[in-house]
């Protein structure tokens, strides 16, 4: 490849097929020999199934439920935990829980049959919110306290430090559900090809699906082949959730002996898919006489929904990030995954980190404002540096370039002048946030759990194929990964083949999640390409394989969550400026300035795209994206109810980066796909709070809530609750 710097942008490999509409998504395939299917779901949030009246099914139509799981098979989906059932049996824990799959050749007839299904329940009182879950409303249904999972971390000695504090203040910060709104809704088709179950599916993690559903039929994952189809967005919503489609499809195909397909409509997908965990973080902070932080305690509650599934890992990441970009002398965090009767919460860009980062940033702002300080000046006192102790008693391994990034955004945004000029409550405000994101799986997860492998294959015609399980879902990985190989091998990008993964043809390089693909798998490709380079001209056709090796000396104790949680963090600073309509509370964002440290960028344009999208998605989460669950039912069911931002809502962004090559990443690159989501919401809310002069401690904050704060909110300068 004839570019000097790998950062120089190239045209995306998939640009043409996506822009021209020729890309084939799963529902575009001619699965004509396959049956249609409809999911039969629980219509109540909590109860016991008393009776199911199935209409008389014509020939060729099938009802598939838990009774069709063969002997030896297990009725669960193996996500991270194994508690999420494939089909409900006796009780239901949330609205939308899968009860059965109705399959048949004619979609119209299937629709009519679907409408005739009647299910009788004995309804039980649901617990919907975190508080209702904790209070065991309607009786506990997980353990005896509705706590799915729990962890506790401590740096220093918080209790002793509290004794020395001049005053101790408390504050609760809350965040809401968020829906992924990927452009392409969920869909999958399962067929039998050469005596194997073959899935065509819109998904992030093909190997996860095999592992998750094989126990249903008590078969080896190798008997299932997963072929990822072009995936129109995921954001974490297709990390584990495709299992919920593929499990029932597998049982159905096993029973019927024929292929079955299942595609969700937008409304169906919104009502019946995983969401971002709502959160509640309770801080207790001890200050000395001069207002410095002596100790901080945080209790982190995540609404995990009806099943644990992946929530413990999400909660862990939340607790690891709750200290933000700061190092406090004494710090503790305790996390609780709360069981409620809502759709199980799952992965969403940031994977638990955005909630606690929003919480700590907002709490830090409020600690500053109550002392009459500019939040920036207060936050500056605690920035963590290289060698600084993290929330898990590990150390920050790399240089922390926050001072450099801060200088960039101060200059581009003119922050200091504006802070002076815009009085609190003047209708104009500027806010700032600092955030990070630990790249890849936590601790030794890459080494102990994933054990990623990757292959490069050279063909006699000089072309090179990348064989790994990573997926393109819109983020640009189909360009990033070949670019790394082409650059190392010094061959044209077009000579690198990288197809959508097929689990029977590629090694398992781990999930496309956790901001790990470039950082970990990119490195495996770089290493493989270097090995290949030595033999490139000597041998016509050959393969090289690489596997992940964890750097020595950075230990992790997964039982107690102690040690080096992450070796490479992405870092970010974001400034947002707003003005508020004094008549209506409408907020107009006047400017967005950010700087990020993603090591060395593999492709500037793709990284720009990630920043643009991530920052806006983060502000959407904090402002207009209201997703309410009323008595166990999601209220927003369509794209006219659930308000994601459009390009008209925000101005062009000013995007900056710092160069900070990561020694274990390809060309020095680190993860950044989640990082760019993690902080914009806090900067926006900081700006908004200052503009209206009121303290905002929960999101989302749409126009009508802004008005309520303007009318009845607490003054931003008021003291937080003093508990001692």
């Amino acid at each position: 490849m004839d570019i000097n710097d790998i950062s120089t942008a190239v045209r995306r490999v998939d640009a043409l097929e996506k822009c021209s509409g020729t890309a084939k998504y799963v529902s575009d395939y001619d699965f004509n020999d396959c049956l249609w299917s409809k999911m039969i779901r629980s219509s109540i949030p909590r109860g016991i199934i008393k009776n199911i009246r199935i209409p008389t099914l014509p020939d060729g139509y099938f009802w598939v439920d838990y009774k069709d799981i063969p002997k030896g098979g297990k009725n669960y989906l193996h996500m991270i935990a194994t508690d999420w059932k494939c089909f409900a049996e006796h009780d239901v824990r949330y609205t939308g829980e899968t009860i059965a799959l109705l399959c048949g050749p004619d979609k119209k007839i299937l629709e009519d049959l679907y409408k005739q299904v009647e299910i009788e329940y004995e309804e039980l009182e649901p617990a919907v919110t975190i508080d209702e879950g904790l209070n065991c409303k309607g009786g506990a249904f997980v353990n005896d306290n509705n706590i799915h999972c729990h962890l506790k971390l401590q740096v220093g000695d918080v209790d002793s430090a509290f004794k020395k504090a001049d005053r101790i203040v408390t504050e609760t910060i809350e965040t809401g559900f968020q829906e992924h709104v990927y452009l392409e809704t969920n869909g999958a088709c399962c067929k039998i090809e050469n005596n194997k179950y073959v899935f065509y599916v819109s998904a992030q993690c093909p190997f996860y699906i095999r592992k998750s559903i094989a126990p249903l039929l008590n078969i080896s994952p190798d008997e299932i082949i997963v072929k990822q189809t072009v995936t129109g967005g995921a954001f974490g919503g297709k990390e584990h959730f495709p299992d919920v489609l593929c499990g029932p499809l597998l049982v159905a195909v096993h029973k019927i002996g024929k292929g079955v397909k299942l595609f969700f409509t937008r409304e169906e997908d919104m009502e019946n898919s995983v969401k971002r965990h709502p959160s509640k973080v309770v801080f207790k902070t001890g200050l000395d006489k001069n207002g410095n932080i002596l100790a901080m305690e945080s209790k982190v509650y995540y609404n995990a929904g009806g099943y644990l599934s992946s929530s413990f890992v999400v909660l862990q990441r939340g607790c690891f990030h709750v200290s933000g970009c700061y190092e406090f002398p004494n710090f503790s965090s305790e996390g609780f995954g709360v069981a409620t009767n809502t759709f199980p919460s799952c992965a969403f860009r940031g994977f638990g980190a955005p909630q606690t980062l929003f919480a700590i940033e907002t709490h830090m702002c409020h600690l500053a404002e109550m002392q009459g300080l500019d939040p920036l000046e207060f936050k500056k006192r605690y920035f963590i540096k290289k060698g600084g102790i993290t929330s898990t008693n590990g150390k920050v391994v790399e240089d922390v370039k926050i001072p450099e990034m801060l200088n960039q955004v101060l200059k581009t945004s003119d922050y200091k002048r504006k802070v002076k000029q815009y009085a609190l409550g003047s209708g104009k405000g500027i806010g700032i946030s600092f955030y990070n994101h630990g790249g890849a799986f936590t601790g030794n997860g890459e080494q102990a759990i994933i054990k990623a492998k990757c292959k490069l294959k050279k063909y006699s015609n000089g072309k090179v194929e990348i064989l790994c399980g990573q997926t393109e879902m819109g983020q640009g990985f189909k360009t990033i990964l070949p670019k790394i190989a082409a650059k190392v091998l010094n061959i044209p990008l077009i000579d690198v083949i990288y197809n959508n993964p097929d689990t029977s043809k590629v090694p398992d390089s781990g999930p496309t999640a956790a901001s790990r693909s470039t950082m970990i798998v990119g490195k495996l490709v770089e290493k493989a390409a270097l090995l290949m380079k030595e033999r490139f001209n000597k041998e016509k056709e050959f393969e090289v394989e690489t596997s992940y090796e964890h750097p020595e000396g950075y230990d992790w104790d997964q039982e107690n969550f102690q040690g080096y949680a992450y070796l490479g963090y992405g870092w970010g600073v974001c400034v947002v400026e707003v003005e508020v309509d004094p008549c209506t509370g409408e907020v107009t964002t006047k400017g967005i300035w950010s700087s990020h440290d993603a090591g060395h960028l593999i492709d500037e344009k793709i990284v720009h795209g990630q920043v643009n999208g991530g920052v806006i998605q983060g502000i959407g989460w904090a402002s207009t994206e209201v997703m309410e669950n009323i008595n166990g039912y999601f209220k927003q069911k369509s794209m006219s109810d659930y308000i994601i931002p459009t390009s008209m809502d925000y101005p062009s962004q000013y995007v900056d980066f710092v160069e900070n090559p990561y020694k274990w990443g390809p060309f020095g690159a680190k993860g950044m796909g989640e990082l760019v989501f993690n902080g914009s919401g806090a900067a926006y809310i900081d700006a908004l709070s200052r503009a209206i002069g009121k303290r905002i401690s929960s999101i989302p904050c749409p126009t009508e809530k802004v008005m309520e704060y303007m009318l009845n909110g607490k003054d931003i300068k008021d003291s937080l609750n003093i508990c001692r």
Partner: protein, 306 residues
Amino acid sequence: MEKIDCYIPETLQEALEILHREDVIILAGGSDLMVFHKNEPSLIPEFEKSVMIIRNLNELKGIRINSNGECEIGALCTSNEIAESTIVPWHLRQAASRMGAVGLRNSATIGGNIANASPKGDMPGPLYLLDARVKLTSLNGSREMLVSDFIIKFKSIDLKKDELITKIIIPYSERDFDYIFWHKVGTRKSNAISKITVGMALKFAEDEIVKDFRLSATSTGAKTNRNRDVENLLIGSKITEENISRVIEAFDQVISPRAMPVFRRESTKRMIRRFLSQCLLHPESRVIDTYDSYYVPGSPKPVFNI
């Protein structure tokens, strides 16, 4: 599902004859009806009775000024046609230009927006404000009535089975007023449904006496709200702090928002206060907005807490 007929008449006469003999669903732009009757992908939408698609009726298209100087808009005019026409009154152009997204604005019609009778509809507000009339035509002739009378209540209109909305006639425009106001608070900046929309217009007589004042609000009850008793509190008087408060309090009694009541009531109050207090200052711009942009050099510093 039984089979239904679908008619696509080419002339108004043909359409009226179909209406005369058969009970049909009239489909113009389809932007509401097709969503309402949406079916699973690849399945045909299901209508409970026959459908008549009237898009081809040229008699229902076009915008002109009639001999009385009134603006006449064909019922099939789309939001984009209305937004782009310079002869359409300002308030209606504003409303049309902020409706949905471009694709919807190219398809949705003014006749359909009125017939849908949604309290969140974008067009009825300005039409109420400007005393617009609908022309209803059947084989037996035509009749005209105020849009505000035609829309009876939530999703209910005074249309006989054999009638078609053919025209909307608007007697007033911004030229009849000294100051005008229209503000939609959408769920976001574009492609948005109204959370609240307020339209106002005011004309002074001599000596600061208010000659005409109009006020309408959508998304604040079962139908668009306009109340002449409230307007009469100001007409014939001067704008004073006391009068402004009387109008605000009286209009607050008129509206009945169910969801987001605090926001809807308070923002309505603030918008009325802003408009009237600005009129009193006789600013150069006839268009009054909710606040002076903080970013225009030399503009007065906004007073935030009204």
